[in-house]
């Protein structure tokens, strides 16, 4: 499915956080959102996920306004993984992944074998089948993100939205998570800090600064030394990696 934001604007109080941004992501592709802290990435993510309603503009899923979708209808199509998931509840990995089936069940409908299969499949994909009975609070940061990803997969979404899913993870876990997402080949929007990871894993990149869209396009066109200097205020050297053929960005310190 195609997900698109059409000139969306969002305010926190009177402060404009997202200012007339238009981006779109084609079926099966991955759109990366990059930009300095406070550039409006997380807010745009929330608008795209339908968690906040834009003050102006629309978010469209296959040319249909998401405000016109029912709550369940939307949650069956769009799944979100937050930056940080915290809970005090003493839940197990399996409990969390099962939450993903929530939009597919009515208030009192019983748990089915089909639900079991989908949850099992999600656990297999993130490699946590043998951890299903482990308690959430005993998991490491990387494992928690994988559990949340499995929960999102259990929603059987057509669009996956991730808000800095690799924050606070060590490099191996960052790559693990992004590889997993890459292998899913469903429409994905991901806010991401690391420009090299963005270059490696995204089909297109949208650059945000102070709530506005600076530019949007394939990594090779977007990640230029000039853009990095203008938006992030750092000098960088951009080259093509001899190892993976993607862009490699070195910061000159």
């Amino acid at each position: 499915m195609t997900l698109a934001a059409n000139a969306v604007r969002w305010l926190a109080g009177r402060k404009v956080i997202v200012d007339g941004v238009s981006v779109s992501v084609k079926p099966g592709q991955t759109l990366g959102l990059i930009g300095p802290n406070g550039s409006g990435k997380s807010s745009l993510i929330r608008l795209l996920a339908g968690l906040r309603a834009p003050a102006e503009g629309d978010v469209l899923l296959d040319n249909r306004k998401i405000s016109g979708f029912g709550r369940w209808e939307l949650a069956r199509r769009v799944a979100v993984v937050e930056q940080h998931s915290m809970t005090e509840a003493n839940v197990t990995v399996l409990d969390v992944v099962k939450l993903g089936r929530t939009p597919h069940r009515s208030a009192l409908s019983p748990w089915t074998d089909a639900d079991d299969d989908i949850v099992e499949d999600a656990l297999v994909r993130v490699g946590l089948t043998d951890r299903r009975d482990q308690f959430w609070h005993t998991l490491s940061g990387g494992e928690r993100q994988r559990v949340q990803l499995a929960r999102a997969l259990a929603q059987s979404p057509v669009v996956l939205i991730l808000d800095e899913p690799t924050n606070h993870l060590d490099i191996q876990h960052q790559i693990d998570i992004l590889r997993l997402v890459e292998d899913l080949s469903i429409t994905t929007v991901v806010a991401i800090h690391d420009l090299n990871l963005a270059a490696r894993f995204c089909d297109r990149i949208a650059v945000l600064s102070e709530g506005k869209l600076v530019t949007c396009g394939p990594p090779t066109e977007i990640l230029t030394e000039k853009m990095i200097a203008d938006v992030f205020g750092v000098e960088a050297h951009v080259s093509t990696s001899a190892h993976h053929g993607r862009l490699h960005i070195q910061f000159l310190m």
């Binding site: 709550r71 949650a75 005090e88 003493n90 839940v91 409990d95 939450l99 929530t102 079991d116």
Partner: protein, 343 residues
């Protein structure tokens, strides 16, 4: 169904039956124990006689004591425990705070202020207006806490707001009592504030039974939504939950249950805190099982607490709030200590 799910279901049913049986025994014991000791056999006979199952001769005075005083008292205790435990479980899940419960959040204090205003300042009269006053007070306290704790709703802020609400409404209650009550009224109000099942009658049973039954059904209906709140409001919203509506409905139900109980038996603390944690320990965090478990265990706990309050310094009766607090505070401390370690 897979075998493991059948086993789980069977275990659940067995658990419910065991607690129900224990509850029946406790209620019977509650009726039997008192200044006039009545054999359990007589108690059962009096009840089956009334329902029309048997016609066993029972001394009239015993029957009157059983039917008009003790049975209604035990039943109100049961519904009250169920309602408070349920309210605690809902608040803990909605506010994502292990220390949340009506008493700690000042909702009971607000309900007390409302009820005392009705009693002493004399707006209207009768049980219904007392409940209405308690309900208004509970809502006011709720609004106060939500307002103070709005924005980043961290565990600390909610509890701090609750402490402020408790202080404010307890001060208001004391102010109203000191300015408007005579000595005798003041004594009875203070006794009532600590919680007492003395003086509850069949109309109270009907009121508490209907409020708790409706509350239980509404809460169970929302149990999936409550599960979805595990990781907060945005996570719930992204799972298709109507977060705003669920919050309002469940907070209103909680306020209604708390207010009904406070207007009948005073502010009883810590039941709403202790029972949900105990129940979670037994059946886990899933609300479909947790909420009925809370209701049953809460009912059982309160009936037993009522019995304890009557025998510990017999023939005098200890305020029920004293008993629940003596059990609840150590429990509260343990939770606080563990919360510190996890954070």
């Amino acid at each position: 169904m897979t075998p493991s799910r059948i086993r789980l279901w069977a275990a659940g049913t067995a658990g419910v039956l065991i607690v129900l049986a224990a509850l029946l025994v406790a209620i019977t014991a509650g009726v039997a124990i008192g200044e006039m000791a009545i054999p359990m056999k007589t108690t059962v006979a009096a009840v089956t006689n009334r329902i029309g199952l048997t016609a066993i001769p029972v001394p009239r005075i015993q029957e009157a004591v059983i039917w008009d005083y003790r049975l209604s008292r035990s039943l109100v205790a049961a519904f009250c425990g169920a309602g408070l435990a349920l309210s605690g479980a809902i608040l803990q899940s909605l506010l994502r705070n292990p220390l949340a419960e009506p008493y700690v959040l000042g909702i009971s204090a607000g309900a007390s202020t409302g009820a005392v205003s009705i009693m002493l300042l004399g707006f209207g009269a009768g049980a219904i207006s007392l409940s209405a006053g308690a309900f208004a007070g509970a809502l006011l306290a709720f609004a106060f806490v939500v307002m103070l704790a709005s924005g980043r709703q961290t565990a600390d802020r909610t509890i701090l707001a609750g402490v402020a609400a408790s202080q404010l409404f307890n001060a208001l209650t004391s102010y109203i009592v000191s300015t408007s009550a005579n000595a005798e009224q003041a004594r009875s109000v203070m006794f009532w504030l600590l919680g007492s099942f003395a003086g509850v009658r069949w109309p109270d049973v009907a009121l508490s039974a209907s409020v708790v039954s409706v509350g239980l059904v509404v809460c169970i209906w929302h149990s999936r939504a409550l599960d979805a709140f595990t990781f907060g409001e945005d996570a719930a919203r992204s799972l298709g939950i109507a977060v705003g509506r669920v919050r309002v409905v469940l907070l209103l139900v909680t306020a209604l249950m708390t207010a009904t109980m406070v207007s009948m038996v005073g502010a009883i603390g810590f039941v709403g805190l202790v029972i949900p944690h105990a129940a979670r320990f037994i059946v886990g965090p899933g609300h479909m099982r947790l909420l009925p478990a809370c209701a049953l265990v809460g009912a059982l706990f309160m009936v037993v607490a009522d019995i304890v309050s009557r025998i510990i310094i017999a023939p005098q009766v200890l305020p029920i709030g004293v008993v629940t607090a003596l059990v609840g505070v150590p429990f509260f401390s343990v939770i606080l200590y563990r919360a510190r370690r996890v954070a």
